[in-house]
């Protein structure tokens, strides 16, 4: 080992973001309130679906293999809706990233939102940046222990609420809450809550920016989706430099607008200096913009020394011209294309949702054997018919075979044509269609056959085409 050897690891540099006020901070507070409210409250919204179905508006019923979302009910065979939503989420992220850079990271990512909330609690208990730095350097004392314990307890409670809210999406929330409190819930519920509480506590309280810098693949992927027109948080170096503090000293007129007050650095939740240019760590939370605007107002300079900027504007601004208007950066071929694709998928899904049949029937002809010859020479075909009842009440269906007058239909075992399908269930019935020996379908290779299924109660009808195999087959 030479003298240039280094340790295997780098210790984390603690970050103590200072409090900041401003446009973007206000926007972020609102986004935090709305996203957290959606997350915590959604499982408690009720939605009446009839007597035999759950009345929770949003419910992932893993055991029953159903997904309920208000008036929409998704069965496993309709999983393409979920795939469609994921594709839409993908295009949405492409759109936002190409237009506004890492706006997801800065405003809406759970890691950011919860870290923000944890920092709020931290500031509330331990004070703002300077007090926190002091406390961090202090030796352990009763006061330090009290503050730390209070903070950790509140963090843990938030973590518990986070993990707790998650499991409510998978079971009836009021029942599950009662079971959880009375220690009657399933072990998987407790272990999920435990894991999510622990991850929230550790990720939001201690790991913070380390998650984004070291663990999250998304920053790396997003970098590939940004171009020169992407608006991102940047420092107008040509306006700010050379930076300097002493405004009244001689030669101060040569200085730029940056007074090197470190406000932008102190508020940064990832602990970088935005004036060094774009960095992998930057989540574009825009708090440095707020911090700098505040200072600029105080020293009587125009706002926007740090601002949402596009790289393509830099040469223009350096030459003393105005950059392109914001809408021109946002409104360009790429973003329009993403929007169109996103909207097309959305429309296709809405369309698919509306044309979903009310009666769901699948017919699979039994081809082993293709047909059965009965002793009187008549030919019998067998079909497996699945009927789904997505309603809250039992439904009585009548099956009929059309296509040739000779088709004689009967249910295996019980005969007849009536099938009762209990609420929220799929019923598989085996159906025989028989034709006498001297009829055309008996001798032919294949004859068209159409199954009709009718809801006796309201005459709603669905049909499905298949074929009848004869001796010529």
């Amino acid at each position: 080992m030479s003298d240039t050897s280094q340790p295997l690891y780098a210790a984390r540099e603690p970050v103590f973001p200072r409090r900041v006020k401003g446009t973007f901070r206000t926007l972020k507070w609102w986004i935090m309130i709305v996203t957290l409210a959606i997350y915590y409250l959604t499982p408690w919204i009720r939605w009446d679906r009839g007597p035999n179905l759950p009345d929770q508006a949003v419910l992932v019923d893993l055991a029953g293999r159903r997904f309920y979302f208000f008036w929409i009910e998704i069965w496993p065979h309709e999983f393409y809706f979920v795939a469609g939503l994921l594709i839409m989420a993908g295009f949405g992220l492409f759109l936002f990233t190409s237009a506004l850079g890492r706006v997801w990271c800065g405003y809406a990512c759970p890691q950011t939102v919860w870290t923000d909330l944890y920092i709020l609690v931290e500031r509330w208990i331990e004070g703002d940046r300077n007090a926190r730095v002091r406390l961090w350097k202090e030796r352990w004392s009763f006061r330090k222990a009290r503050l730390r314990l209070t903070k950790w307890t509140i963090w843990l409670l938030i973590g518990l609420a986070t993990g707790g809210a998650w499991v409510f999406y998978f079971a009836d929330a009021p029942t599950l809450l009662r079971d959880l409190v009375t220690l009657n819930a399933a072990a998987v519920a407790y272990s999920t809550i435990f894991i999510l509480t622990a991850t929230t506590f550790i990720f939001g309280g201690f790991m913070r920016e380390q998650i984004c810098v070291y663990m999250c693949p998304w920053p790396r992927i997003q970098a590939a989706m940004m171009d020169n027109d992407t608006l991102t948080v940047a420092y107008r170096e040509w306006r700010g430099e050379p930076r300097g503090k002493h405004r009244k000293k001689e030669g101060a007129e040569k200085l730029g607008d940056c007074i090197d007050c470190m406000a932008c650095v102190n508020v940064c939740p990832v602990g970088i200096d935005i004036r060094k240019g774009q960095q992998l760590e930057c989540i574009t939370c825009a708090l440095c913009i707020d911090a700098c605007d505040d200072i600029m107002a105080k020293i009587g300079k125009p706002r926007g020394l740090i601002d949402y900027l596009a790289l393509s504007d830099e040469p223009l601004e350096r030459a003393g011209q105005k950059g392109k208007p914001t809408w021109k950066h946002v409104f360009r071929t790429r973003t329009v294309l993403y929007t169109v694709l996103w909207a097309l998928f959305g429309l296709a899904m809405v369309f698919a949702l509306f044309i979903r049949p009310e009666i769901d029937m699948t017919v699979s002809p039994v081809r082993n054997p293709t047909f059965v010859t009965l002793s009187d020479g008549s030919i019998r075909n067998t079909y497996d018919i699945r009927l789904k009842n997505k309603h809250g009440e039992d439904r009585l269906f009548e099956l009929a075979a059309h296509g040739h007058p000779a088709y004689d239909i009967g249910l295996e075992g019980v005969g007849g044509q009536l099938v009762n399908v209990p609420s929220n269930e799929t019923r598989l019935v085996r159906v025989y269609v028989t034709v006498p020996a001297d009829t055309a379908p008996a001798g032919a290779d294949r004859t068209d056959l159409r199954f009709w299924v009718t809801d006796i109660a309201n005459n709603e009808r669905a049909d499905q085409n298949t074929t009848f195999n004869g001796k010529g087959n």
């Binding site: 295997l8 690891y9 070291y214 082993n368 059965v372 010859t373 009965l374 009187d376 020479g377 019998r380």
Partner: protein, 283 residues
């Protein structure tokens, strides 16, 4: 290996790895990450002690927890059997012909019977009981030995023409090639082929009357007591063309089925019978 040095452009050290002059910077991991590595190593060591892991010459270390997937499967099967015990007891005691289609017990019997059928019967009768030449199709309504629930249970339990069960269904058609003249065989085959449309007069009818009617009946409707097939219907076990019928008359046939009562449990015999009965031909 090149010298480790301080890279001036980045202020970081190099690792000393050099490939055609391209050097690699040593970017240290965060401390917690390193600790995660150590913890996973520790976890790995503990895991190999706790669970089966190290291969030996024959077998592998068992692990102190004594876990094995095989034992887990065995426990699973046992748990399932315990869960089904009540239904099995009910099935063994049930009056099968009275079993209501769609009832829980009926559905259980069919599900169980379907598995038994696929494991034990499908080799001859086909996976969906469609049969093959010499092996009856169990989906149709033609039955050599009877298609009622009792008949099917008996056939399954004792089998057909086997040496192992004294109660096996038994009958033997003579090989008429040794007893009749070729033209007599030709005539009787022509007679049998014409049976669905009323039969013919002459030599064929006489040969049938003298040799075949005792088992297959005056009306050729067969006799389930002897497993003699109905010759007037549309179902042929070996085939209904002239060559096949000639071969059957000349050399006879001798289909054998094992006595499943000696190999299967009572619940399996009963459930597979219910399954066969449910295939669309049960009487």
């Amino acid at each position: 290996m090149a010298e480790k040095r301080l890279d001036e452009a980045t202020g970081q050290h190099t690792t000393g790895h050099s490939y055609d002059g391209i050097e690699e910077l040593n970017t240290p991991l965060p401390r917690w990450w390193l600790w995660c590595f150590y913890i996973t190593i520790l976890w790995g060591v503990i895991y190999t002690i706790a669970y089966p892991a190290w291969p030996l010459i024959s077998g592998a270390t068992a692990g102190v927890l004594g876990y094995s997937t095989r034992a887990e499967v065995a426990a699973d099967i046992e748990a399932h059997e315990a869960k089904n015990a009540a239904l099995v007891a009910e099935l063994v005691a049930a009056d099968l012909p009275a079993l209501a289609p769609g009832s829980d017990l009926h559905r259980y019997a069919i599900a169980r019977g379907s598995s038994v059928f696929k494991a034990q019967c499908s080799q001859c009768h086909g996976s969906e009981a469609a049969g093959a030449k010499g092996y009856p199709n169990l989906n149709d309504d033609g039955w050599l030995w009877g298609g009622s629930m009792e008949d099917i249970v008996y056939s399954v339990r004792h089998g057909i023409r086997n040496d192992t069960d004294d109660d096996a269904r038994w009958s033997e058609m003579p090989a008429f090639g040794e007893m009749l003249e070729p033209e007599e065989i030709e005539a009787v085959v022509a007679y049998v082929e014409a049976l669905p449309s009323g039969g013919t007069e002459g030599l064929g009818a006489t040969v049938y009357e003298d040799n075949c009617s005792s088992c297959h009946g005056e009306e050729s409707l067969g006799d389930r007591e002897q497993g003699a097939p109905n010759l007037t219907d549309a179902i042929w076990l070996y085939g209904g063309d002239t060559d096949t019928i000639t071969e059957t008359v000349t050399n006879s046939r001798f289909g054998v089925m094992p006595a499943w009562g000696q190999r299967l449990s009572e619940e399996d015999v009963r459930s597979v019978s219910v399954y066969v009965h449910s295939r669309g031909g049960g009487e």
